[in-house]
Assembly symmetry: C2
Homo-oligomer: 386 residues x 2
């Protein structure tokens, strides 16, 4: 055969394991400044948005690249409602859950729901559509998500679906479906702040999976479903409810030190502490801590005491690492305080993150280059001559 040097055999490029620090794309979506302890969504401080903006406004920022004008705010709210009513999502949770008589857990069900919604709506691959159509597909699929999540959870727990609160937004309606009560303004604000704060956070594994899938030209739903598949992994989205499992075991402040000592002695991680990016305090946990304090209550007091002791004891054991409460610690406290059921912590995180995934999918769709890395073969040499 006509063998000659080509670019693929010529020079393999070695990079750190897990692609740490490897720039796989440019992005105009967000920036995480780990050493400086802040992160931004386009030109806005993410924490400021979480404190002051509505969920829908930040959704608009991710989908359209700018915060909406007053007129756009109203139109965008209508387009979300319209997408929810016309997506074919209502009833899908029961369809998937009941087929063999056994309910399916909510996250697994979403992985199935998105491709089915896309197929039934006739959505096309990203390279066969224009940006406006891709944006419409992304909106339809992400707007369907809170409806699907709450219907799946209701199906799983034999709760009745409730009618939509027409004058309230996505977050209030989501809480309403899960708690059976119309949330007050403080509860809505607290959950809104959490959701906005976790919409995006750089190229985590789920966002990167969405971009790899999109780079092949696959449809938006395939990329979203791949992303939520990654999110379901224990190393990525899996810990928030485990924080509460720990707090459950602590009845009084006297229980804290022995419990932590026992965990450290057993070589286990303390759930809710430490993060790969932030060596300083995680700005998201600072925000959520202040929100938890404003919500108040016995559980919040115990979490504050736990955090103080855990940071102290972790610093004694591992003084060279700075292990602070991460976003999951106070996220779990805030979600519990506003009434999100524990088995909906990861789905609620996914609801927020799906907005970030969409923006990355739409951005990646403008790059015609497929993401196709290399591997180094380390197995046995070939037996036969080729």
């Amino acid at each position: 055969m006509n063998a000659r040097i080509d670019r693929l055999d010529a020079a393999l490029i070695d990079v750190p394991r897990g692609l740490a620090n490897v720039v796989v794309t440019d992005t105009a979506i967000s920036d995480v400044r780990g050493t400086e302890g802040f992160y931004q969504y386009r030109e806005h401080s993410a924490i400021s948005l979480a404190q002051r903006a509505s969920f829908e406004d930040v959704w608009h920022l991710f989908l359209h690249g700018a915060l909406p004008t007053a007129a756009q705010t109203a139109a965008f709210a209508r387009s979300i409602r319209s997408a929810q009513e016309n997506s074919g999502v209502s009833g899908l949770a029961s369809e998937l859950a009941s087929a063999d008589g056994r309910p399916v857990d909510v996250i697994h069900a979403v992985k199935a729901a998105w491709p089915l919604l896309a197929a039934r709506a006739g959505m096309l691959p990203v390279y066969d559509t224009d940006p406006a159509q891709r944006r419409a597909d992304a909106l339809a699929l992400t707007a369907a998500l809170p409806v699907f999540l709450t219907e799946s959870w209701q199906r799983l727990h034999d709760r009745p679906p409730l009618s939509v609160l027409p004058d309230r937004g996505v977050v209030a309606n989501y809480l309403h479906q899960l708690t059976g009560r119309e949330p007050d303004a403080q509860q809505e604000h607290a959950l809104t702040a959490y959701l906005i704060a976790v919409i995006d956070h750089g190229l985590n594994a789920s966002t990167f999976a969405a971009r790899v899938i999109t780079s092949t030209g696959a449809d938006v739903a395939s990329a979203l479903a791949g992303a939520i598949g990654a999110l379901s992994g224990p190393l990525h989205g899996g810990a928030p409810s485990r924080v509460l499992d720990a707090l459950d075991l602590i009845r009084t402040s006297a229980d804290i030190d022995p419990w932590i000592q026992n965990e450290l002695a057993a070589g286990r991680r303390i759930m809710g502490f430490g993060h790969a990016v932030y060596r300083t305090t995680d700005p998201r946990s600072e925000l959520l801590k202040s929100i938890a304090i404003s919500l108040g209550g016995e559980r919040v007091e115990r979490a504050l005491a736990f955090e103080e002791r855990a940071e102290h004891m972790l610093a004694e054991v591992a003084p060279q690492r700075e292990l602070h409460a991460n976003v999951e610690f106070y996220a779990s406290v805030v979600m519990e305080a506003v009434g999100v059921p524990r088995d909906m912590f990861t789905p609620t995180f996914a609801l927020a993150r799906s907005i970030g995934w969409s923006a990355h999918i739409l951005e990646q769709a403008q790059d015609p280059k497929i993401i196709r890395p290399s591997a180094r073969y380390t197995g046995p040499a070939m037996h036969e001559a080729p």
Copy 2:
């Protein structure tokens, strides 16, 4: 805030777009030697395996790391049959397709089917299982695939499901369900050779997506579903049936040159020519060409004439590139010759490739490092002070 230098802000590493040549992992599964015009599955020539081995034996090689002994061959065939009977897959195609009265295309349906099968079987994340359990999960899901594919296709075309041929293997049964006829040995061999030849081919985008998802600890089904999502993109798995669409338009050999000239003048690619890795002849197309010739017939004659003219005319237009028939060109001719319906070309490719994905998922599951690259922010600077 306490800002200090950390590894993540310290040194971003720039690499070629699309991660070309970037080594993201070591692997003992396969090696593609583009300049030398061959590729291997572990220590075996992939082409030799395609010519001589059974599909099940190569499946065993990918799942267990070695070709089976005679006793293992029989046991593995039984475990595939058993997985198919106990996977809960039978009937799932109708369930997904008929829910709202409209059938769903086969590839979209698979993306939904795998997570549902996994959820109903209670499969766990890869980091919560041992290698034997992960292997069992991978076998259950990949063994379910041909059953699901043929049932979905039958549902889509109102064909009746046929009973299993108990004495024939996976490939013969697959063809039987699609054609309604028991295939002869030559047809079975031809499709087997195609399937083996495309089980794996380095870190293409779908395989990489599966590894990224697995790196989070997600379950095997999530990684497989993400991979098939990537495969559904036009840049990756989308072209084989389009090769035949071109051949359909050519009635006599006199039609070939004008048709190709017209396509080139319009700036369109000739489907089935050129590959990112092989600058020499693609060894898979050489193999499939010889199989097509052995199958014979008018269609094969026309394909041979088309290839000769296309290579000649492409060399005139772009002499610096070596554009040869790629695997898709003769793959489409072979699949048509043995009776695979055109809308099952990509699903049939996925059936083969799912074996490769499984092996990469099982290998990645042994690496506890999450795949989490970086991006460079190129959007506007932040408005507010942090």
